[in-house]
Symmetry: C2
Subunit: 180 residues, 2 copies
């Protein structure tokens, strides 16, 4: 198999041990014959526009993406990661994803929003602002679901390991290895 490069998207770049996670992810990539491109490694850039350009360059050179779509500061995934997922989808590259919270979007929202309720007039669930909550049983907004090359790997992980557990990431590598 040709060595293929994987863009490693996820909010773990914000952890205090972001570098270690990157080393671990890249090592796992190596086990599966992939080259991991991790945006959280210290490249010397501190200016945000330089970081943006580096991430775009890494995505352009990558053959596929594995995105960590674990909920981040709310019921949904990290927006930086989601931007990258959309970018790679439009680039026609295979996209894989995992989440360390297996609950559906409605349940996630109910957990965080005590005012989420079923609106009998609209016949749908709504949040504290009165906006509809998608209740399709999907893990997140539907746009994050149907472009994936394989179904999301969804696992429940203890909250302390929510951003560091890599079993779902490994499962994505298994799926990616089966690519033709």
């Amino acid at each position: 198999m040709t060595l293929r490069s994987v863009y490693l998207a996820g909010p773990e770049v914000f952890l205090s041990n972001a570098g270690e996670i990157g080393v671990a992810k890249r090592a796992l990539c190596g086990e599966f014959g992939f080259d991991g491109l991790y945006p959280g490694e210290d490249g010397g850039e501190v200016a945000p526009d330089a970081i943006y350009r580096r991430c775009i360059a890494q995505m352009r050179s990558a053959d596929l993406i594995i995105a960590n779509l674990t909920p981040f500061r709310g019921p949904s995934a990290d927006v930086g990661t989601v931007f990258e997922l959309g970018y790679m989808t439009a680039s026609g590259k295979p996209t894989f994803a995992y989440t360390n919270d297996a609950a559906a979007l409605l349940e996630r929202t109910q957990r965080l929003d005590s005012r989420a309720r079923f609106d009998n007039n609209r016949q749908c669930w709504t949040d504290c602002d009165g906006l509809m909550v998608e209740a399709f049983g999907l893990f997140d907004n539907l746009m994050l679901v149907y472009g994936l090359a394989a179904p999301v790997v969804a696992r429940d992980v203890p909250s302390a390991e929510r951003y560091t557990d890599l079993a779902g990431f490994r499962a994505c590598l298994e799926l990616a290895r089966r690519l033709p």
Copy 2:
């Protein structure tokens, strides 16, 4: 000027009057010589995969995007909208955005997360989970900023009109009209 089509991305599709907002956005597009493609109009599809395919088809046919990046269920923008922003960026089409909350990401996070604090060891702001909060003074994650064809239109809008106020949207149309 040739009539150009604009993909109208934003969480207003979840409002009870999503259809009205779509009519208003499309009317504003018409004033500026654009054709608005609004994903929230009832097209008869109820299945989420059909909605996904319709949104992708609309983006492919659109010449540009105007994204409503107002915070949604947390400090950051709606992930569906952000996926679409990344998609259009990779498609090489001009991207414009507005937010009806002008605060920077750090201030937005501080508002919602009482445990956000400055970590003296790491010399950065962190959230309740110990993850770094970007403190670049940007309105959201840096990936949402530097691909835009013009700076984000950021305005503070009373909370009741947060998802319906269209002044920022109109300002994006003004910017888009200047495109060569």
